[in-house]
Amino acid sequence: MSGDDASDSTSPPNRRATTHIKTHIMKSEDEYDYLFKVVLIGDSGVGKSNLLSRFTRNEFSLDSKSTIGVEFATRTVTCDGKIIKAQIWDTAGQEKYRAITSAYYRGAVGALLVYDITRPQTFEHLERWLQELLNHSDKNIIIVGNKSDIVNMRAVSTDQAKEFAERHNISFIETSALEATNVELAFTNILSNIHSTISANKGTTIDEDIPSADDNVGKSSKIVISDQPMMGAKQKDGCAC
């Protein structure tokens, strides 16, 4: 699986036309087989926004503001001959106050759970983040130990994290958004896992009656993943005061 800008190759018949989608990094991103929403979660300051910018724009910034609200960026990759558009969502790490949790997780099919290898507390909080994720459904998850370039301040050993990941049966990788180490791998790993899940489920959970509420996720696939967001947006229509 690799980053790919040859996404204007022959379209499968079930691909729906999306006329306005553009992208910062490549043309023809309106052609894809699957759209996967993936969320970045983890404590504040672990490097979520820089992982996002490294993967989607190949950029890293030492002087970025803390994230407030939600932001996202996309990138298209190919996996087993399928064009996958990854829509990566990023939000603030100070999770307990967030009023937007449901809008953030809704429709997500994967998560990168990020900690900072120089701050043990961010690793200790993984359990809590996992719980929050599971509350919103079980997804494809990868644990990402970021800032692996800061060798002399490492406080969480690779073995320790590996052990944790194995215990929870989750993939694990160490990255450096600054040096662009393994960032590509972390994202493509989760995307291909999601793709495998979907391929494996194909034929068993097809639902032809998906309402248009489903428009933003799994756009052209018609495949229902366990937590597809059929409700939520539609439910809230209350009347005014």
Binding site: K22, S44, D63, S66, G69, E71, Y97, A99, R106, A240
Partner: protein, 348 residues
């Protein structure tokens, strides 16, 4: 040191061209400010249309009720408040970690993470002393407001005050201030004033920052109801594209639009907010509605993704003060129309 290249280097006070003749209003405002007892109603009225930069610092202090209307008492109050703040520093901030509760340590760490990420492209905020001052303000505020504690974004809200009071004290525009030349007594004053003004500002919107941020939830809901009423085609398009108002308006609410505009324009918006007689959070929702609807045609030609990217980084860098005036007038108009007639919001 970073070169001052970013738009944030634009001083708060670079321009002054409000809707009515600015000189005349400046004179009026000056006269009001010079009265032995300031006529607050008059001050609010004049400030609503924008405050001339050279009068802004004191006007904000008065509007926020940090300074009393009575001129005789002002210096006394200022001295006392600044002392009171200074006294809290050794008590709350300059203590060993072992003397902080877990909750306090969490707040402390979060602030240490956020301070270097506050206006990071601005030279001023890369200065160690300024960062320390900001950290103290945020921490002490957080400790003394345990119902919310410090929440990310409050750091942004402190920055207009720091910039404004530094400019006042140094008598220079912010981009001309070399942070290393700021006398420590000046920074001490600026820090104390920032603390109290931030406190006053947040007093009215604390439920934006308590658990689950109910104030923000309410404002986002109200915004969506307003847009449904005001611009049905845009509302329908947002719904059809599955855009949740939380996706883009959370930041507008959490940081009072600071991140949506260059600093000198945000400051102009705040002139109006602080001049409001009613809680400014009411008008704020209408300003957000006017802002969103301003881009209606453009947004309606975009899909989910392009809309969110657009709204996360709205093209306001080239906006001028006149455009802000138009935005605020529109918000005012809608507020007069809808605020006291909720039925107008009920059906389309």
């Amino acid at each position: 040191m970073l070169a001052p290249t970013h738009e944030e280097e634009e001083a708060i006070s670079t321009t002054s061209t409000p809707s009515s003749p600015p000189d005349l209003r400046a004179q009026k405002l000056k006269r009001v400010l010079q009265e032995p007892i300031v006529d607050m109603a008059q001050l609010r009225k004049l400030s609503w249309q924008g405050i001339p930069p050279e009068l802004r610092a004191n006007t904000w202090r008065l509007l926020l009720d940090y300074l009393p209307a009575n001129a005789d008492r002002r210096n006394q109050v200022l001295d006392r408040k600044r002392e009171e703040y200074s006294a809290t520093i050794p008590r709350y901030f300059d203590v060993d970690d072992t003397h902080r509760t877990n909750e306090e340590q969490t707040i402390y760490k979060q602030i240490q993470l956020d301070v270097p990420r506050t206006l990071p492209t601005m030279t001023l905020f890369q200065n160690q002393d300024v960062q320390q001052a900001l950290a103290r303000v945020l921490y002490i505020w957080g400790i003394r407001h345990p119902a919310s504690g410090y929440v990310q974004g409050i750091n942004d809200l402190a920055t207009p005050f720091i910039i404004l009071f530094l400019q006042e004290n140094m008598n220079k525009e912010i981009r001309q201030i070399d942070p290393s030349t700021i006398p420590s007594e000046v920074l001490t004053r600026v820090e104390a004033d920032t603390y109290w003004c931030l406190t006053k500002l947040l007093d009215g919107i604390q439920d934006n920052y308590t658990f689950a941020q109910p104030g923000i939830q309410r404002m986002m809901f109200k915004l969506s109801e307003l847009v449904k009423r005001i611009d049905a085609p845009l509302y329908d398009h947002l719904k059809q594209q599955e855009v949740d108002f939380a996706h883009f308006s959370f930041t507008w609410m959490n940081c009072l639009l600071l991140r949506a505009f260059p600093m000198h324009l945000s400051t102009r918006i705040w002139d109006t907010y602080l001049a409001e007689v009613e809680p400014f959070s009411i008008l704020h929702v209408y300003v957000c509605a006017a802002f969103l609807c301003h881009f209606s045609a453009e947004l309606r030609s975009k899909d989910f993704q392009d809309m969110l990217m657009f709204l996360n980084n709205p093209p306001t860098q080239s906006w001028n003060l006149q455009q802000i005036d138009v935005l605020l007038s529109q918000a005012y108009l809608w507020k007069s129309l809808y605020e006291n007639s909720p039925k107008h919001l009920n059906h389309r």
